[in-house]
Amino acid sequence: MLSKEQNETLTRVGPGTPMGELLRRYWYPVSFTKDEWPIKKVRLLGEDFALWKTPQGGYGIMQERCPHRHASLVYGVVEEEGLRCGYHGWLFDCSGTCLDQPAEPDKSAFKDRIEAFAGKAEEMGGMVWAYIGPDPAPVLPRFDVFVDPGFKDVGHSMLPCNWLQIMENSVDPHHVEWLHGRYFQFLGEQKGFLAPPSFQKKHVKVGFDPMEWGILKRRLLEGQSEESDDWAVGHPLVFPYSMRVGGAGIDQMQIRVPIDDTHTWALFYSNHHPEGLDSYPEQIHPESYEYEWLDEKGDFIVDYIEGQDVMAWVSQGDITDRTAEHIGKSDIGVITLRRMFREQMALVEEGKDPTVAFTREPHDRIELPCEKDKFGAGVDFALSWLEMGSTRYSPSLDILKKIHIDAASARGEMPGQQEAAEAPGQ
């Protein structure tokens, strides 16, 4: 349970709020590079921006409203030097400097007094990433999922809830055996399908270790030893808005972009690279698509893993009322996360940089710890992931299944292969 003031502090993301100031110290994905657009509107942390592709192959991002008379720069003109407002032709470069005011007298120095707010935008992993915080900007962290070779697949949807209740789900391992285990099994019994048994295993204990990139989450399931990947390796909540998961040749970053206080762009960015394959089908851009989470009646779609998560996140309300929650010992991960947010907010309030998931060191790749042997389920885990997860909406579903089946065959792990290898006379 939190006080109303504490809940407000933890959930409000707009400019000038403590959480908003902390979150403005990080980079966020705001668009796919494959989309056909010269300029588009993006909303991030409660503010609207114009994002444009420069003729030089880069990206610019600046406040949506022109400083002149506030017309939208989304309806502007991309030029060699920057973005020109469609209303009266004011021209801005990528740093927000006003370069031209064509209707003003030739000798006027008015433009020298005008500066628009401009952020920074870079491409990584087929997405445009934006930074809208103070200078100097940190380095965009090049996490393994985004830069490693493999077949990339991204499901995404805009959800009508605050990003924090999604993040709190990432430090709540117990929900897996219930929401994706028992509840999924119950649905399967009603509707006549087999829910993935690997999600039904009981948690014996859970652990949370604050680390450089966030909070490392561990779980020990019934029948496992502490040498199992789920406990010995675990996987991290990547501060402040992602979670790294995976296993069985799938690496995934679950990304929750705080669009504003009550909307979150929730992406499942996966890189498929199972052992046994040397190459993957060629991709120019990652596959990207919207996953469905409401049916035609407006009810939650809960017969797949992420749909169940979305139900749990969104059904709490747009900003869940933590003054009325009742949390217990099994929620210590949630408490750990709230404390980390408060500690990092305090650093920013003191004029310092955050110390978690914040880097100024140039680098090529950041490897995050993540278990490979997930729930001890092998290739079955990968196939369950594809068929019982948001990937079922992917236009590349068949390609992905083939990748994992071919890889398992190359490793000799497909059902029938092991029996054949063990059969007498073989």
């Binding site: 349970m1 939190l2 006080s3 109303k4 003031e5 504490q6 009322d321 003054t323 009325a324 009742h326 949390i327 217990g328 010992k329 929620d331 210590i332 408490i335 709230r338 404390r339 408060r342 500690e343 305090a346 309030e349």
Partner: protein
């Protein structure tokens, strides 16, 4: 207001005026009233206000515990109100 189970003669104090700011569908929830009553307001180590820190209440069996972090001195720990000192209890 119901009396705690282990105090048959206990009378819960009336809700203080300040709790009238409780709003929403759970405004009558006694847990929320107790939460506001018991919420630590100062650091047990340095005495600073916890307004800039955080105190998150959670339950462990009958215990209501506040996991607390002090912004001023960095003290981190659990605070729990003790209603009765209890030593070892025989199993039922």
């Amino acid at each position: 207001m119901t009396a705690p189970r282990d105090y048959p003669n206990h009378v819960e104090p009336p809700v203080p005026n300040r709790d009238r700011r409780l709003t929403g569908v759970h405004w009558w929830d006694p847990d929320r009233v107790r939460h506001l009553d018991d919420l630590p307001r100062h650091c047990p180590s340095c005495g600073a206000s916890l307004g800039d820190g955080i105190s998150v209440e959670y339950w462990e069996a009958d215990q209501r515990i506040y996991h607390t972090w002090c912004h001023d001195c960095g003290w981190t720990g659990d605070i729990s109100r003790v209603r009765r000192m209890i030593g070892h209890e025989a199993d039922d």
